[in-house]
């Protein structure tokens, strides 16, 4: 059984994103994935994510989360990077809310295995306010990791 630990790690989490625009935030998070060997080609992957953003008008929600994602051959294995932004980044939410909790999902082409199940469970948990609140309060990357792990494995 795939566990959330295979998908996310403290090294893939930034509680203080420096980028303030969408493209920059995507690249910053994608580089975290690259450093961990999960994404092999940052520009290709970011382009794929960007295309999805354009297609859907953005993945930002009014609750302040954004889930940019794409399947791409530039992804070595299914992963999630998380970034928290103090200023917020525009991800095209309907009401203009900036996203402060950004989950960047990377899936290899043709991914329809157990990883997807775990990713979808994470996505489902994000609908719930208490989970979002605890992500906003977590002081460190490790703390975020623990919260995510706990929430998704319940």
């Amino acid at each position: 059984m795939t566990t959330i630990e295979e998908l996310i790690a403290p090294s893939l989490i930034s509680v203080d994103l420096s980028a303030t625009d969408r493209r920059g935030a995507l690249e910053e998070l994608a580089r975290l994935l690259e450093r961990d060997g999960r994404v092999v080609d940052v520009p290709t992957y970011v382009d794929a994510v960007w295309a999805r953003e354009e297609e859907t008008g953005g993945t930002g929600m009014e609750s302040g989360i954004a889930i940019p994602h794409a399947k791409s051959p530039a992804v070595a294995r299914a992963s999630v990077a998380f970034g928290r932004s103090a200023s917020g980044v525009d991800f095209g939410a309907e009401d203009g809310t900036k996203a402060d909790l950004i989950f960047l999902i990377a899936a290899p082409e043709g991914a329809d295995d157990l990883h997807v199940t775990v990713l979808s469970r994470l996505a489902r948990r994000l609908v719930h306010e208490p989970f979002r609140a605890s992500l906003r309060e977590a002081p460190t990357a490790e703390a975020v990791f623990d919260i995510v792990k706990q929430e998704v494995e319940l």
Binding site: E55, G110, A123, R124
Partner: protein
Amino acid sequence: MKIVAVTSCPTGIAHSEMAAEALETAARQRGHEIHVEVQGAAGAPPLDSSLIAEAQAVIFAVDAEVRDRGRFSHLPSVEVRTREAIDRAGEVVDRAVAAATAAPAVTPAAALVRAEPAATAGRAERIRRWLMTGVSYMIPFVVGGGILIAFAFVIGGAVEVTEFSVIQDGQVQFAGDVDAPFWTWFGAVLLTIGGLAFSMLVPILAGFIAYAMADRPGIAPGLVGGLVAREIGAGFLGGLVAGLLAGLVVQQMKKIPVKGTLQRMLPILVYPIFGTAIVGLVMLLVVGEPVAAASRALTDWLESLSGTNEILLGIIIGGMMAFDMGGPVNKVAYAFGILSLDSGNFQIMAAVMAAGITPPLGMALASVLRPKLYTEEEREAGEAAWVMGISFITEGAIPFAAADPLRVIPSLMVGSAVTGALSLAFNATLQAPHGGIWVIGLIGNALPYLVAIAIGTVVTALMVNVLKSLRRTPAQQAPAGVTVDA
């Protein structure tokens, strides 16, 4: 209240799941029972047909096509993007409840009967949905092209606008370049545009049948197969073959068990190259020759019949005109009419045109008489079909025929056969190769001629509606990708 919902998004990882969770949470908070089918990558099982039968409303929170939408056709529905469902799930649930209160679902017993064939998704039913998807993408081309051509006839004169071409040797001919009045020239311009729209009918039909069957990878092989069908003159029936073939080929290729790099290459290289090649080869080398041979045989046969029983000839020509509406059989009959016209026999040309007028008129009338038998889109196509019918643009009936060929084509043929025979019996004549009502001045015995057309129109309309109502109501199965908001 019992609610069912379908969520879907292109990648099927995040938004479909979030929308599902949000809807479930909001509905339960409001004391409703909800069951959600996530059409995502995780491959959740479809909703049980009994749940759908018991439900009072359906919510579609979708950014992508809903698979097997027909299962929900008896329910009042609300359709939103996934984002709206995530951001404002409560509001969406409230709207579904309001829709259910305003227009209650049909009785559960009837729903069960209707839900059953779709839920088990029999082969015929699946094919029907694929065809409907192709048709729904084709309709704008039929309507746009058909109305522009009709308008060209009206402003420029039906015969005059075809006497020169607006693009010659790659050069656009402007009003001053041609020896024709301005409005004739402008009509010819519109005719060119409309004709180009029409040239997309078969490729689009084929491409989007394949899309319904095999998703995006189906489009390229389907479109190319449709182009080949057009080039070999196989008409829309050739397009149906090309689309179904392309869908099948890509469906099969998707089952190839490979992993890793090779798997990544499938959608990028394998589907487009091999899918297109296989479909193109089959259409060109296997379908092409029989079509040409059949055309030649039919031509010889028709010629051997000329001079024999007039009524019989009218019946045969009429049936042929309606059989494939622009396809090889229709073309043989039409060419026979032109040939007769050139040799001074004006009766045959009149019968040919009359028989080409009734199919769109018949379907337009049918969709007005029994609107419930037709989808919203078909009813709109029916409105445009009036104009196309009177303009002798037989293609106006193609959307109906492509969606339900086994019931529609025989009805069109019978109506056209009656009209063709009557036209000859009434001794009507026509001294123009096309134009419909717009060349009425060139029609001899015009009044009986119109009566012949009217009778055939009524015959087609009544027959197709009887055939359609013998089975379950097709309008209940809207094509995928079309909103059926209650």
